[in-house]
Amino acid sequence: MALRELSSLEKFLGLKKPNKYSTQGDKKVPVLQNNNGPPLVGLVTIACHLVKEAKRPELLGDSAESRAVVQQWLEHRVTKLDGCTKEDIKTILKDLNLYLQDKVYLAGNQFTLADTFMYYGIHPLIVDLAIQEKEQYMNVTRWFDHIQHYPGIRHHLPPVAVLRNRIYTGRHH
């Protein structure tokens, strides 16, 4: 899963030659062999590395504050979203919904790596929501729809229908 995300990110960043990754441990933590040093370990670490390599530093935030916010949501993704229990899901969605109330993207008005990876991480949760629940977390749904239509982001994931006029939940088509 993490590897597919990284390869989607590479495509989005327009990196010419794809990297080779391996994984370690039970949790299949991604590892990137690095020519000029020890290997890089961890989804967030590798993703940030790729962004720097592609010379797109703005994706990590354009000020100290927004850089901190981006890192915070990336951490949130790997510590809270990954491996969350059923009971956690409601809290996660509720909190995120409140947070996004007055924001277009996670770091405010600018698209960042945090949006990409929160989107990847939250996708399985959104797929399972019924239409009514999606309406309950309106801001999350709006943001989610926005990100999945952001050019070059979706790649390995199926689109999720968020509009009411579809009869079925996203999983079935």
């Binding site: 039970d26 949790k27 933590v29 890089l40 370990v41 961890g42 989804l43 967030v44 670490t45 940030c48 590395h49 720097k52 100290a64 504050e65 850089r67 901190a68 916010v69 890192q71 915070q72 951490e75 949130h76 790997v78 510590t79 229990t85 809290t91 509720k94 909190d95 409140l98 947070y99 109330q101």
Partner: protein, 918 residues
């Protein structure tokens, strides 16, 4: 910019360390754990940094990184990697380790969960060959990891393996981050790991999945609740065979017949709970520590078919009573009568099922105490000595130990009592106290000498040790009881004075000591004997019969030495074949919302107030037993009580039992359907059977809290079973499907019946209600707890159940908040506020009460009426009666409630108002 932190929260150490190292200017504010600083997070999350833009950072690592960045130090890729590792790998292990060390008292086992991450860190450090994680200088990675590991690595008591490089790195960091030490002291309140206790108690218990590579985590049955147990074919078959036996083979329960006396060929257990001191209203900690724990065990023992006698009573002699009498203008006897009745009624409300609840101010007490005294005298275990005693000249009397306060000569604790220091637990002679003060008038007492008698403990020491060796190795002594006893013996025993210059006590019969009475520590435990003697003339069959009788003493840990050392010495010295304690069960302390219970400050819930909360006695019992301070101190918390009620009782236990019963009512016309066991059902039988066995093993060892978890596990299995099998769908299907629905329902309702039995010691009323609803035969009570536990089919096909209705009610947030406020310590001020409010009309208090129509007698009647009407409404709802009928009865109920509120002097509107608002 403002940083919010809280005491005891280990994550706050990281940000404070980063603040210290970077020197960034920032306000730091200490707030409560429960404070929700970050507006968009529903759970309180600390630390939090309020950024200049008004945005909040809520991740400690992001905050640290930010502090480093604004001070001009960007973090490298290597740093990022360490921070990610810290968040995803180290933190879950640390959380687990802290949970074990701080809450479970298993500091010795933390290395099991931490060894993996620590080894990884150690290898990286030794491979990197640089002083710090990412090079020659301190980086954000060092600060974060260092502070994260600080609580564990700075505690020398935790056995961690050899990690040399980690140690060198940690010590190097300590030198650099000296400014941090002060912050750490503050966050941990100088208490090391224990400083995090209240924080840890509020965190969800770590999932055991996080320690899947450390098998040992699941080795303890009481904690392996998350893991699915593997059930063998044999277990399944055996469980199915047991189940099919039914109730036929089981003996009928016999009613208790007083007086209960030891019987040949039976296990005869004599259970005592520490005698509560008469003029204190017991608080929840007192209740869980002795009477409630002893009650659960006695109820359980009776189910097991043991021959049990459970006695207790009020401890009534002593200066405190004399003083109280003086205060209230009554005689000491009148004070005792008054408070004995209060105690009785509190325990009655808590459903403490004593065989006899007596008191120490009786003829029998004098008779037995004097007899023991003469026997000790005869065998030369009493010595005479003059004692220097404190006398308060302004109060004109010798001061009893509890009426002197001063500085402890051992540990310098300033509020040590005259007999014992609450801080270090050592016994003190009142004259040894530094800066003694009379507690009544605050004058400095003078030392006077007077002749007294001493029990020669050193002479009895060898005999005592011999007996202790045997008792502690064969009986079930809690770890704290053994440890406290050991430390007493290690310090060496000294003669102890058994007489006092007082009036309110058992008179010393010796002519040379005519004006004196027995010291309460000598006298009070004899109360167990005299109370039994007031219960039956044949009391000696219990108390002078060590070969037939096993004695269980229940108490809180402060009472241990008197039951394990001093009282046994009195009995051993008396040489009259007394029954000595076989099993000493001591609890730790129960705190109240992280502080102590305090009558004077109005903090905490006291026995007489529990019933005013409107929360049923059974729910109180359940929660107190759920947090029973077994093995470590624990805390009563309102929020936690609501959570446990709503999640465990309502959603887990109550939900399962109610569903099982409702399926029988709705789908099978109230008759238990036929059960055709399939493999899956047999597996469930085996799982339930295993939980039952664990419950019995733990209860036999008086692990009351641990056993409770297994009851809840059973209903969890049950809920899962129903959820997977969906009888509500299958009932609409073909014959096979309908039969399947029948089996699932039949099995579930039988599990509900088993649960009612297992619950009986904990929640007697609910237990009976379940059996009433299921119309279960009473014989099932004794049947299930035979031997190692037998889950038999008690409700066979065709059995008709009664009316099924919900067992528990939700505890709402506002209700709990109101209670929390009410008992939070502002009680006194709240009361004054309430009584001053109607002062616009200047009337004496009594009159105000009349104006408001307060009428306690009427309120009592109305309370009954409300309960009855409430039950009627619930019954109608359960029977799915016509809406109009229900509405009419509900209106009646609301009207009764209104009248009740008026009679109690409350505003009659609160409940209906809430509904209207929404």
């Amino acid at each position: 910019m403002k940083l919010f932190v809280s005491e005891g929260n280990p994550h706050c150490l990281k940000v404070l360390a980063a603040l210290g190292v970077t020197g960034v200017q920032c306000d730091v504010q200490y707030v409560n754990h429960e404070e929700r600083v970050v507006p968009f997070l529903s759970r309180p999350t600390l630390p939090a940094l309020l950024l200049p833009s008004g945005l909040h950072l809520f991740s400690s690592n992001a905050i640290c990184r930010y502090l480093f960045e604004v001070s001009g130090k960007d973090s490298s890729e290597r740093c990022n990697q360490w921070l990610e590792w810290e968040a995803t790998d180290l933190q879950p292990a640390l959380l687990q380790a802290l949970h074990m060390a701080v809450l479970q008292g298993k500091g010795s086992e933390v290395s099991k969960v931490l060894q993996g991450p620590l080894n990884y860190l150690d290898q990286s450090l030794s491979k990197g060959n640089t002083p710090y994680l990412t090079g020659e200088a301190v980086s954000v990675a060092d600060v974060v990891l260092w502070a994260a590991l600080y609580p564990i690595l700075s505690d020398s008591s935790l056995a961690l393996g050899e990690c040399k490089s980690v140690k060198t790195w940690f010590d190097r960091g300590a030198a650099v981050m000296c400014s941090f030490q002060a912050a750490a002291q503050k966050v941990l309140q100088g208490k090391g790991l224990q400083g995090m206790k209240s924080y840890m108690q509020r965190q969800p218990a770590p999932q055991s999945s996080q320690c899947r590579d450390t098998q040992s985590c699941n080795s303890n049955p009481a904690e392996g609740e998350e893991g699915e147990r593997v059930v063998s074919e044999e277990e399944m078959e055996a469980a199915a065979v047991t189940f099919s036996k039914g109730l036929n083979a089981c003996p009928l329960a016999t009613n208790r017949q007083h007086p209960i006396l030891p019987q040949e060929g039976k296990r005869n257990l004599l259970v005592t709970s520490a005698l509560p001191y008469v003029n204190n209203v017991p608080h929840l900690g007192n209740i869980i520590g002795c009477v409630l724990s002893a009650d659960v065990f006695s109820r359980y023992g009776r189910l097991r078919g043991w021959n049990m006698l459970f006695v207790c009573g009020t401890d009534e002699y002593g200066t405190a009573t004399e003083n109280k009498a003086r205060e209230e203008g009554l005689t000491p006897q009148q004070i005792c009568d008054k408070y004995h009745a209060i105690h009785s009624s509190i325990y009655k409300w808590f459903q403490i099922d004593f065989d006899f609840f007596g008191r120490t101010t009786t003829e029998k007490q004098t008779e037995i105490a004097q007899n023991i005294f003469w026997r000790l005298h005869k065998h030369d275990f009493l010595v005479e000595d003059t004692v220097e005693q404190l006398r308060c000249e302004s109060c004109q009397r010798f001061l009893a130990d509890r009426f002197v306060e001063g500085t402890c000569p051992h540990c310098s604790y300033p509020e040590a009592r005259g007999d014992q220091c609450d801080k270090c637990g050592r016994l003190i002679n009142a004259v040894e106290l530094r800066e003694p003060q009379c507690k009544v008038c605050r004058q400095t007492p003078v030392i006077r000498s007077s002749k007294h008698l001493f029990l020669d403990l050193p002479k009895l020491e060898a005999q005592l040790e011999q007996w202790l060796d045997k008792s502690t190795s064969t009986g079930d002594w809690t770890a704290n009881a053994k440890q406290i006893t050991r430390s007493w013996l290690r310090d060496g025993l000294k003669p102890r004075c058994i007489t006092r210059d007082l009036k309110w006590g058992t008179p010393v019969p010796h002519p040379d000591f005519k004006e004196k009475v027995f010291y309460v520590w000598f006298d009070a435990p004899i109360g167990y004997l005299s109370i039994t003697a007031n219960y039956t003339d044949k009391w000696e069959k219990w108390w002078k019969n060590p070969h037939q009788v096993e004695l269980y003493n229940f108490m809180a840990k402060d009472n241990v030495p008197f039951h394990s050392v001093v009282f046994p010495c009195s009995l051993l010295g008396a040489q009259d074949n007394y029954t000595l304690v076989n099993h000493l069960v001591a609890t730790e302390y129960l705190n109240y919302e992280d502080t102590k219970f305090s009558k004077s400050r109005g903090v905490g819930v006291f026995g007489d107030m529990a019933k005013d909360t409107g929360i049923p006695s059974d729910v109180w019992r359940f929660y107190l037993l759920y947090v029973r301070p077994e093995g470590q101190d624990s805390a009563f918390s309102w929020a936690d009580m609501a959570t446990k009620n709503n999640s465990e009782l309502l959603n887990n236990l109550g939900n399962f039992i109610n569903r099982a019963g409702m399926f029988v009512t709705k789908f099978f016309e109230g008759c238990v359907p036929a059960i055709e066991l399939q493999q899956e059902d047999k597996k469930l039988l085996a799982l339930v059977g295993w939980e039952l066995q664990q419950y019995i093993q733990l209860m036999d060892k008086v692990k009351i809290r641990d056993a409770l978890k297994h009851i809840l596990n059973i209903s969890r299995h049950g809920n899962q079973y129903i959820q997977v099998n969906e009888p509500w769908k299958k009932i609409k299907g073909g014959d096979t499907e309908r039969q399947r629905a029948g089996t699932v329902t039949g099995l579930s309702v039988n599990i509900a019946c088993l649960l009612s039995v297992m619950l009986f010691p904990y929640m007697p009323t609910v237990s009976q209600t379940i059996r009433d609803q299921l119309n279960a035969p009473q014989s099932c009570i004794n049947a299930m707890l035979q031997g190692t536990g037998t889950f038999v089919c008690a409700l066979s096909a065709g059995h008709r159940v009664g009316t099924v209705s919900p067992l528990f009610q939700k505890l709402e947030v506002d209700q709990i908040e109101a209670l929390k406020k009410k008992f939070g310590g502002q009680q006194k001020t709240a009361q004054t506020a309430a009584s001053t409010q109607p002062a616009a009309v200047p009337a004496p208090l009594a009159e105000v009460a009349m104006v408001n129509g307060v009428d306690p007698e009427k309120a009592k009647q109305l309370t009954l009426a409300v309960t009855e009407q409430g039950e009627k409404v619930r019954a109608l709802k359960a029977q799915k009666a016509e809406k109009a009928v229900i509405t009419a009865e509900v209106t009646k109920l609301l009207d009764l409630k209104k009248q009740l509120a008026l009679a109690e002097g409350k505003s009659p509107e609160p409940a209906p108002q809430k509904g209207k608002k929404k």
